[in-house]
């Protein structure tokens, strides 16, 4: 038998780590998926249009009668003019910014509320858990758009109402996911350890539990962002979001749909943009789910 020299305890211990040397991070695993790249590219294109577009307007977007490019349904400009003679391309370039900002804000509102309630329910358990989750079930029973319609009718079609209403209606769904993710974490011994050292409960939630549920929550955020975009665009389409004469994709679809045969770009451009954006964010959410699925946070 060959003699192995220098077989120190440290070396032996190190040999046990050998397999973990090439550890891939969530980010590299995310980027290695084709659908992730497609999702990021689609989202980036639409976001770029929405953010840079307002600086490159060939015409004003039509807040007053003097800014109109031409008479209705002329072929002036890149994509012609709409029913009021406003330049379609300009309105398209200017119409995405609000949608994206409001969707992101609404998603954030939903995440903050949902994670806070979900984690609290999971960690507290008992009657508080039951109370939060049953209240959740009641909210889940009411369709999102119906609540939004009601709120907008009562409070008026203002941006903050949109953001809050969409955010709040997301919260119960996010709370369910946050609760189940947190339930996996709270049985870990490091939570027991934090309790043993009498760490305040709010700090246990924020420092010990929350960082360990970021994976599922990132997936949920991507998914909810997709829904937010859809919901806000729908409300604008129904006339309950952005109000005329503002340039907005949802609103544009509504305004131009009667003239679909005369001026198809007025409908198709915003439809295409919203479709690409939702598909893109959805692909990203899916890819995050795949990438974080095999990160067992505490595992060997």
């Amino acid at each position: 038998m060959p003699q192995t020299d220098g077989l120190s305890a440290q070396e032996l211990m190190r040999s046990k780590d050998a397999g973990s040397e090439r550890r891939s991070t969530v980010l590299t695993r995310f980027w290695s998926q084709r659908q992730a790249k497609v999702g990021v590219i689609l989202t980036a294109i639409v976001v770029l249009f929405a953010f840079v577009g307002p600086f490159l307007l060939p015409w004003l977007t039509g807040y007053s009668a003097t800014e109109f490019a031409a008479r209705p349904f002329q072929s002036d400009g890149l994509f012609g003019t709409d029913n009021l003679g406003r330049d379609v391309w300009s309105r398209f370039l200017a119409g995405g910014l609000n949608l994206i900002i409001f969707s992101v804000l609404a998603t954030l509102v939903g995440l903050v509320l949902g994670i806070a309630f979900g984690m609290t329910a999971a960690y507290a358990g008992g009657w508080l858990d039951s109370l939060i989750m049953r209240a959740n079930d009641v909210l889940l029973a009411v369709p999102q758009l119906v609540v939004a319609l009601l709120a907008v009718t009562v409070l008026g079609p203002q941006p903050w109402v949109l953001v809050i209403v969409i955010g709040v209606t997301h919260a119960p769904r996010i709370a369910r996911v946050a609760r189940s993710a947190a339930l996996n974490v709270i049985n870990e011994d490091y939570i027991r350890a934090a309790e043993m050292y009498a760490m305040p409960r709010a700090r246990i939630l924020a420092r010990e539990i929350m960082p360990n549920i970021t994976g599922p929550m990132a997936v949920e955020a991507g998914l909810r962002l997709t829904y937010s975009i859809g919901a806000i665009a729908s409300l604008s389409f129904l006339g309950l979001g952005m109000q005329p004469p503002a340039a907005d994709w949802g609103l544009m679809i509504n305004e131009n749909r009667i003239a679909l045969s005369l001026e198809p770009a007025g409908v198709l451009l915003p439809v295409l943009a919203i479709a690409l954006l939702t598909i893109g964010t959805n692909l990203i959410a899916d890819s995050i789910a795949h990438a974080s699925a095999n990160t067992n946070a505490g595992g060997q």
Binding site: G19, S20, R22, R23, M196, A198, G298, Q300
Partner: protein, 584 residues
């Protein structure tokens, strides 16, 4: 029709005159030849050039620590390569009893391999509770194996085989027993069902992957006997994968020792365990705790310079301060009871877990709390640590009754009594650096400034021989042993006087266990800690403790100095434990 006939022959030992000749001639039934298995991603070998052979009526033990590749080799005998790995050289040849031709497991197509699995080659997994389907009655689960592989020719024949194999593994064979669900059986009985399933088709080769790890010693003893008997009477060649050298000496005829994917030593059990040739085997054997305490695993290493410096540095600081606290601590460390448990009872629902436990932990002394699974030892340890608030009775620290939950204890009490968790894979938050995790006790006691806290944590990391450079690393980068050292460091930052260690070495390999025990020794002697070392492994007693308390079904049945309890056990339960413990 042709397929059915082929299966029929696979499922019985009819066609194998070659096999009978090999069994009679004591030749190899299975040969692993220069087997190499690599990781698909990196191409780096996980198992390198492994040569093994199995004979009928013989058990070869494959020994190694976690990550040594022993399970990978075991699964390759079933022709299975885990995902992420690939076969990159060598052969696994099975001389099975159903045909004259040897089968090449690595190159066999899926269909023919499936016919061989469960019939000619079978597998007994580690955890019986996970491997049995909880929704199928146990008799049916055995019967299923026979049905799939079309055993015999009639229903009656299969039903008879289920009964006979149940009898062979020492279980009742009546219908009432067969109609039980897995959850109605004990762990040992569940594993016997697993063994019965594996032996039902009269296999030629059987792979056992740590089948007794989850069982307590008395059950383990009986299951090992069953396995041994089944292997010999059925002319089976067994491969027993384990990390437990004591079990090896009980069951194996030959031993192969694996290190980093290579077999470093192979030979008859007696020879390998008595006269190990390879340095690694010697180290492994030296790290195994023995009941007699001959190995002295706790005293393997001397402290390194850094540790000594840290400890002497701290003692100097304390003597300068001359506070009443230090004076009080000195008085306690010299003699007396640091912690006492009085009439402690606790029930989960209506099930009593602890029934009036009385226990004294002497200052500066290590008490071993011994108990099998379900004895309530973790419940007791957690009650002392203040993690469980609903017990009756009391825990007294220096004569003062402690509040039941840590939240209601004083800072002083919280700092003085520290608890270390069993699994280092669960006790450290994977998203926070060691520094952040280890500062928590200090932040919560709120006595030191931020920079003092950091300094104290770095010193503690040195004291557990990890080194201060681990401050900014996360648990994911660390091995199990390193994580457990970090967890010990967290318990030390508050300079406690009582340390409750709950099975802190049971998730670790023996060599790592030895180094942790040695660390505890060092810490205990330098700091005069009172320790409660909770374990199921009685063999550790002489290596770590000066007193032993035996917990059985929520009651302390034996309590006293180590030698008294181990040499003259007063209680029947302790005697039984000592009789069944596997030794080298």
């Amino acid at each position: 029709m042709a397929k059915a006939r082929q299966q029929q022959t696979v499922s019985s030992r009819s066609g194998g005159t070659a096999w009978h000749a090999r069994v009679a001639g004591d030749e190899h039934i299975l040969e692993v030849d220069h087997l190499t298995i690599s990781a698909t991603a990196t191409g780096r070998p996980v198992v390198t050039d492994v040569n093994l052979d199995l004979k009928a009526r013989e058990i070869l033990a494959l020994v190694g620590e976690s990550g040594s590749g022993k399970t990978t080799v075991g699964l390759s005998i079933l022709g299975h390569i885990r995902s992420g790995l690939m076969h990159s050289g060598g052969t696994v040849t099975l001389y099975a009893s159903h045909s004259e031709e040897p089968a090449e497991m690595m190159s066999l197509d899926d269909a023919s391999r499936r016919h061989l699995l469960g019939t000619r080659v079978s597998y007994i997994p580690q955890d019986p509770a996970l491997s049995l389907n909880p929704g199928i009655r146990v008799g049916k689960q055995i019967r299923e194996v026979l049905d799939i592989h079309e055993y015999g020719s009639s229903d009656a024949e299969r039903a008879e085989r289920v009964r006979s194999v149940l009898r062979e593994v020492g279980l009742p064979d009546d219908d009432a027993y067969q109609r039980r669900w897995p959850h109605q059986l004990s762990g040992g009985q569940q594993q016997r069902i697993g063994i019965a399933m594996a032996f039902a088709m009269y296999p030629d080769v059987i792979v056992l992957d740590e089948p007794t790890t989850g069982l307590d010693v008395t059950t383990q003893e009986q299951v090992l006997e069953t396995i041994r008997e089944m292997t010999v009477t059925n002319n089976v060649a067994g491969l027993y994968i384990t990390h437990d050298l004591a079990v090896v000496s009980e069951i194996a005829d030959r031993v192969a020792v694996m290190l980093r994917g290579e077999i470093v030593e192979i030979g008859p059990t007696d020879q390998v365990l008595r006269q190990p040739q390879h340095e690694y085997t010697r180290r492994l054997l030296a790290a195994v705790p023995d009941l007699a305490g001959r190995n002295q695993i706790g005293k393997l290493h001397k402290m390194d310079a850094q540790t000594t410096e840290f400890l002497t540095g701290e003692i100097a600081v304390l003597s300068e301060e001359e506070t009443t606290r230090t004076a009080a601590r000195r008085a306690v460390t010299s003699e007396g009871v640091a912690l006492s448990v009085r009439d402690l009872s606790l029930a989960y629902g209506t099930t009593p877990v602890l029934r009036g436990v009385n226990l004294d932990i002497q200052a500066g002394e290590c008490t071993l709390l011994l108990g099998q699974s379900g004895s309530g030892k973790t419940t007791l340890a957690r009650s002392i640590a203040g993690l469980l608030g609903d017990y009756t009775g009391s825990v007294e620290y220096r004569g003062e009754a402690l509040a039941k939950s840590t939240r209601h204890r004083t800072r002083e009490q919280r700092g003085q009594i520290q608890y270390i968790f069993q699994s280092p894979f669960s006790s450290l938050n994977p998203r926070r650096t060691l520094g952040q995790s280890l500062r928590v006790p200090l932040e919560m006691s709120g006595e030191l400034s931020a920079s003092d806290q950091r300094a104290r944590v770095r010193d503690a990391l040195d004291a557990v021989q990890l080194g201060r450079q681990f401050y900014d690393r996360r648990p994911g980068d660390l091995s199990g042993g390193e994580r457990q050292r970090a967890a010990i460091a967290r318990a030390l930052v508050n300079t406690p006087s009582v340390l409750v260690c709950d099975e802190i070495t049971s998730a670790l390999d023996v060599s790592v266990q030895a180094s942790i025990i040695s660390l505890l020794h060092t810490l205990q002697s330098e700091r005069g800690l009172a320790m409660l070392f909770v374990t199921h492994n009685i063999a550790l007693a002489r290596h770590i403790a000066s007193r032993v308390a035996v917990l059985n079904k929520g009651v302390i049945v034996d309590d006293g100095p180590v030698d008294d309890v181990l040499d003259h056990p007063t209680h029947e339960y302790t005697r039984e434990l000592l009789a069944n413990i596997p030794t080298l």
